[in-house]
């Protein structure tokens, strides 16, 4: 057992399920979240998008909650007013429910049943495939999404991050239910999951309900398949263009970075804030104020295995792409050369600290933040991250700027309207 920031951690003796409980009686709700350590990073060509497809199928039926018998998971939960859904990302899949306190046992029953009792029928997969494909189609409708996919595919040519979470259309259409079953049997085990319980429930009751519903589930027979593919170092600038019907150009410029737990991540976050967070940021002043772009953000898309610092900007119609690109590159060179000021670092640090506090909004907010830090590799980092950010100096920001903003580390994706 461990404790940090009011969150207590337990490991179930029988099956190694890790349990985090964050007791908070301020509102009459309980959030339950199961994070499986499987995401798009565990896929390969032929079954890209499988994690996401599986997430959909796990609403179709399990031993005790079967749509075909009129007892669906959704109906059971929505009947009590639950806020519930599931999401898939590069590094994890999570299923969550927020329920009124009186209904707090129901999510335990649902998630325990879903963990090893999924039915995964071929007929369900056939019915769900066009649903997932339509989700793919909706994302393709958006120029920003289309160009983001191109950016990832160009930067990550070996690592599965390159296929994006939704996967390739042909894989979504053709993956077999047997392959999905294999995926389920590889990864959906208590020893590959975290159960997060937040809200109006005591630690004691949380553990009793965990034991009651998850205690009988055995751990995996085999080792959880390790993910060992690494993206080789990038050795030169890359560029990709998406030319489609549209109105305004978009530039996404990614600078390859390390994985989330790497020591440089906090400094990179501060660097991205100085460059593109808010109206005081360098890019806002250089691109939006002079009416060259209608928006610019800079973010750190940094995940379990790798990541990037991304400049994302929408150009004003008829503004020359080369002109904006040159300004972006000049600013990157300038920050490498001259570094950043203490006041810039302090401004972004204040904003990031406040962001961290805002994440605790309600039982769902707390469950969600733990879910994301679990996926990055360490839930405790949420509570330590502030200290790591505070240790970053202006000098350190300049150092990481020089380390990560090089030309050879760069991938540029451009949307050109036609």
């Amino acid at each position: 057992m461990g404790e940090l920031g009011g969150v207590v951690e337990y490991v179930h003796k029988r099956n190694d399920l890790r349990v985090l409980v964050w007791e908070d009686h301020s509102t009459p709700t309980v959030a339950l979240n199961v994070t499986y350590l499987v995401g798009a990073r565990n896929e390969g060509f032929g079954h890209t998008g499988a994690t996401h497809m599986l997430e959909h199928l796990l609403f179709k039926g399990s031993r005790n909650f079967d749509n075909k018998k009129g007892k669906s998971i959704s109906a059971a939960l929505e009947r009590v007013g639950a806020f519930m859904n599931a999401t898939t990302s590069f590094d994890r899949t999570n299923y969550y429910e927020v329920v009124p306190t009186a209904e707090r046992e129901l999510p335990f029953r649902v998630e325990a049943d879903r963990m090893r009792g999924a039915l995964l029928r071929a007929t369900d997969k056939e019915a769900e495939m066009p649903v997932v494909r339509n989700e793919f189609e909706i994302s393709e409708n958006e120029p920003h999404e289309a160009v983001a996919k191109a950016l990832y595919a160009t930067m990550f040519q070996n690592h599965p991050y390159g296929a994006y979470v939704i996967g390739l259309r042909s894989d979504v259409e053709n993956v077999t239910v047997e392959r999905l079953r294999q995926f389920y049997d590889d990864f959906y085990w208590p020893n590959n999951a975290y159960l997060v319980i937040v809200g109006d429930i005591s630690v004691k009751e949380s553990l009793e309900l965990t034991h009651k519903h998850f205690g009988k589930i055995k751990p995996s027979h085999a080792e959880i398949p390790p993910m060992y593919t690494k993206e080789p170092p990038q050795e030169g600038p890359r560029r990709t263009v998406v030319r489609r019907s549209g109105e305004v150009p978009i530039i996404l410029l990614g600078q390859r970075a390390n994985h989330f737990l790497h020591a440089d991540t906090p400094a990179l976050e501060l660097l991205s804030g100085v460059l593109g967070r808010g109206r005081s940021s360098r890019f806002y002043r250089a691109l939006v104020v002079p009416k060259l772009c209608s928006q610019v953000t800079v973010g750190t898309d940094i995940f379990h295995d790798a990541g990037m610092l991304v400049v994302n900007t929408t150009l004003q119609k008829d503004i020359e792409i080369g002109k904006v690109e040159k300004i972006i590159l000049d600013e990157l060179e300038k920050i490498k050369r001259e570094g950043v000021s203490e006041s810039e670092v302090n401004r972004v640090l204040t904003q990031l600290k406040f962001d961290m506090e805002k994440l605790r909004d309600g039982t769902f907010g707390r469950a969600a933040l733990l879910n994301e830090f679990i996926a990055m590799g360490d839930w405790k980092l949420y509570f330590k991250y502030l200290e790591l950010l505070e240790e970053v100096t202006a000098e350190k920001v300049k150092h990481v700027a020089n380390l990560y903003l090089g030309e050879d580390n760069r991938t540029t994706a451009i949307f050109i309207p036609k």
Binding site: E126, E135, S280, K317
Partner: protein, 423 residues
Amino acid sequence: MSKFSDNLTSEEIKGVGRLLVKPLVLPGVVSFHISVLSGSRHDAKFAGLLPELAAKSAREATQKLSRSDLASYLEERAITMSVVVDTMRTTQSVSAPKGELVRALAAASDVLREPRFAQEDFEMVKSIKLNRLREALVDTDARAEERVWRTLFDKSHPNCGVDIGEQINIVEKITLEDVKKYWSDNVGANDTVLVATGDVEGGKLSSLARKCLSGWEDKAISSVKVRGKFAKNQPPNLLIEKLLQKTSVDTIIALPIDIDIWSREYQALNLGLRAFGGHGFTSRLMSIVRDKHGLTYGTYANLRGLSRGDSGALFVTGSFAPTLYSKGMSMTQELLEKFMARGITKAELEMHRANLIGSTAVSLSQSGGVLKTLRTIAEEKRPVTEVEDTLDIVRSLSLAEVNAAIKKNLDLSRMIKVAAGSI
């Protein structure tokens, strides 16, 4: 079980407006909204597009602080501030660290009361708005929605609006002088509402509000509620907005609607519509069109445009692959017609009644849900027990009432269908 109205502070502050505060356990974080009467309905000259442009220009700088100084002032303190304009009101949405509440409220007040309206700030805001409208030209969802409003309502009703291309032409013509005049004529202490949640205490905010918001001139404008005035001529069977290279088609089946949202009948209709197409997976639309037939990622039914007391519309939306949209729309229409003819079942009523009651508790556990509810109570002058009162109505609704509300308020003869995409 605690009630939403427990621990809720409500105060009419003379010379300021109505204050509602509901603390929530979110240490160190305060969120508040300041809202005043003045929305798109108060602009007849520029098709309702001027107020948003004015509010966003005001947000840029105050008499005391230039654009860059205001940005630094707020961002160095982690204060976030954004402005939204709807048909009737302009709302400042602010979040701030607890220790910065005084400065955050003062800055929000300055933005509303003493905007700078510099030419270069206005030009920038205008260019951003124009570019967003250009993006909307190729957005299937935006194109379908604006076509619905233009088709359902008579040109004399402000809901009718103009198409996106025309909106671009109109915004291009707006000048800084128009913005200044609009602000000067319309924006003031018009029915001011201040609501807050998070790590905040009512008494303290009340004294701050007196300090920051009192003495502001009331521009004596009033709500502009427009009922009825639906389009008379039935449009062709299906209206198509053609866009190139779109992989998904957005569809809307819509009916105009005119109902008092504070009536028991509205609650009955709302409950019926949750069963038909509410968010979640168990509505008829989602369980049949998505789960059973796999035709769509999402299909929903909701009422739009009614919240300020206007006439509005029922929107039944869906997204479909271009090869499936025709089948998807037909199925959706069939389900809608069946719903309107036969209503919902007893089992559906009980399921969605329980869902509404439970989901209210869940939504009020987060600051976003709390603020939205507080604003509704304050702006619409509802009692602080509004949440409990509404839930009492929901608990007591009978199946006959729900089905009668569906039959009475949804008129199939006024149905229109719009599809936007590469068809």
